[in-house]
């Protein structure tokens, strides 16, 4: 089967490049494969941005909670409780309604060399609003994972570091954070996978797909509606998701090898999948 024409038309359709109209009749297998694959770009975008920012903020919040700064840790506890205790689906709805109600204003942000105008109406668009919700959600879950790992660091490791006279900064960089990441890597891998799966909720909750550019599930259900045959589009999206899930596992395993390369074999911790479920 030659898909070149379809790839040219639809490979980047989800980000607005290519043919305007979606295929309406005579939908071929090729159309379905290419267009659903094009939707995966959105899923990857949501996942990577939310995960990258979430990782940094999760470590920061976990350290704040570990050190028990009075008001700040309490506030973070409440934040984590709210985001871990409620369904992501409802969070999307709430956030979207709040974003819609925000006054439509623009802020000028003065960078050194240029000025950009930030508008609050961007929050009602999936590329910013949904990413913000996913970021807050994954930060809460990862913060809990990292906080648990921090609490389980052996006391004498930290005391040894202090006895050596390491500064606080070096103590965290050399001892605490590496140990924390090593101990929680397995759970964090699962969190990354669940976050990736959760990205499918974006266009199914409240964020409208602007000019029919949606994620993989948006197109899959579009085809299921149009052809009245669920047996083609859903298995296709399943294939995409399983392969990317395997890719995520591979990447995290490689990082795990890097983390644990100095450890003797019996202390290396293999990534255990799906032992700690979230969301």
């Amino acid at each position: 089967m030659v898909c070149n024409a379809t790839i040219e038309d639809y490979a980047l359709r989800s980000i607005g490049i290519g043919e305007k109209l979606l295929p309406k009749s005579d939908i071929t297998l090729c159309d379905q494969f290419v267009l659903i694959g094009s939707g995966v770009i959105w899923n990857l975008y949501f996942c990577i941005i939310a995960l990258a920012f979430g990782f940094i903020f999760a470590i920061l919040t976990a350290i704040i909670r570990f050190n028990k700064y009075r008001f700040l840790s309490k506030a973070i506890d409440i934040y984590v409780f709210i985001f871990r205790g409620s369904p992501l689906f409802i969070q999307f709805f709430c956030a979207y309604e709040i974003f819609v109600l925000l006054p439509k204003i623009g802020f000028d942000i003065n960078l050194l060399f240029t000025t950009i105008t930030v508008e609050t109406s961007w929050l009602t668009k999936a590329w910013l609003g949904a990413v913000l919700v996913l970021f807050l959600n994954t930060t809460a879950y990862s913060s809990e994972i990292f906080y648990g790992a921090l609490k389980s660091i052996p006391k004498h490791d930290i005391e040894a570091a202090e006895a050596f006279g390491l500064s606080t900064r070096r103590k965290y960089r050399k001892i605490i954070i590496p140990t924390m990441l090593r101990n929680s890597w397995s759970s964090y891998t699962n969190e990354a996978i669940f976050l990736f799966h959760a990205t499918t909720l974006v266009f199914f909750s409240s964020f409208p797909a602007w000019r029919q550019s949606g994620d993989a599930l948006y197109y899959a259900s579009y085809f299921a509606d149009k052809t009245f045959n669920p047996f083609v589009p859903y298995p296709i999206i399943a294939v995409y998701f399983i392969s990317i899930t395997l890719l995520i596992i591979l990447i995290f395993k490689i990082i795990n090898v890097y983390f644990t390369k100095h450890l003797p074999k019996e202390r290396k911790m293999p990534i255990k999948l799906f032992t700690n479920m979230v969301r």
């Binding site: 205790g85 992501l88 709040i98 199914f204 149009k226 047996f231 799906f274």
Partner: protein, 280 residues
């Protein structure tokens, strides 16, 4: 609900709200919370049972059964659950209607897939077009229960499989050397002990199940999300109780409902896990 509610335009704020929050549609909204609880209490035991069966099947001696159950447990967990919630109901629906079509209307030889339509004869429709609304509702709810059971059965299978493997091997070997059969080893050594190991995983699963119940909305069921959207949307003065867009308040109340549900569950599960010694 109250006697003074006949003309809402003349009421004071408090009375207006007391009437507004108890009108017919709001009572349906409150009932849909019961639907969520009902779904939880029906699905949880079913999924646990399916998971247990699948876990035993993964450990079975028959290659085919083993492969099938392994594939089930792994494939379902590798795909976002929302895809299953969209896929399973429509599949089951088409399967049943196709079978009924073949039995009830054998005289029609045309294929049921005509172009982009799925056409079955009137007698094969399920539920029948002439059936009352409540049968349609129950049918939809059963499809939802089925989908949830399939998805969470796979997660439970994994938990039970891990728990069964955590029962000390020496005990199983002791059982074998006493001449116990496979069945006896399962019923008197593995099953009684695995619960302690499975409890943390099962608690997690319960939380996960709670948090996926709003997906009922995607199955076209009139659940809490449906009513929150319906009631919260802005109402013009044609309606008895006009108000601007209040959806955000409705969704925030759903948020609070779910927070309460997970918090209460957490407290109860913590109590149980304190009573049962959970080895790690």
């Amino acid at each position: 609900m109250f006697e003074y509610c006949t003309d809402p335009d003349v009421l004071s704020t408090f009375e207006w709200f007391s009437c507004y929050l108890t009108n017919g549609k709001h009572l349906l909204f409150y009932k849909s919370f019961g639907l969520i609880i009902l779904l939880l209490f029906i699905t949880a035991p079913l999924a646990a049972l399916l998971g247990l069966l699948a876990a035993v099947a993964i450990k079975s001696k028959f290659l085919l059964l083993r492969l099938f159950s392994k594939a089930y447990a792994n494939i379902v967990r590798g795909i976002p659950d929302i895809i299953f919630f969209l896929f399973i109901p429509i599949t089951i629906d088409q399967l049943i209607e196709f079978t009924r079509h073949k039995i009830k209307c054998p005289e029609i030889v045309d294929s049921v897939w005509q172009g982009s339509d799925f056409v079955v004869c009137g007698a094969a429709k399920l539920p029948l077009n002439s059936d009352p609304q409540w049968i349609h509702d129950i049918y939809g709810f059963l499809l939802a229960v089925f989908s949830f059971t399939i998805v969470y059965g796979a997660f439970a299978a994994n938990t039970f499989y891990g728990a069964m493997n955590s029962v000390p091997q020496s005990q199983i070997e002791t059982g074998k050397s006493f001449g116990m059969s496979r069945k006896q080893i399962y019923t008197s050594i593995i099953f009684p002990q695995m619960w302690r190991y499975a409890l943390p995983g099962l608690s997690n699963l319960w939380m996960l199940l709670i948090k996926s119940t709003p997906l009922l909305f995607l199955l076209g069921i009139q659940d809490v999300v449906y009513w929150a959207r319906e009631l919260g949307g802005s109402k013009t003065s044609i309606f008895q109780y006009p108000h601007p867009d209040w959806r955000v308040w409705y969704f925030l109340s759903l948020l609070v409902f779910y927070l309460l549900l997970t918090k209460i569950s957490e407290l109860i599960l913590n109590r149980i896990s304190k009573k049962i010694y959970v080895p790690i």
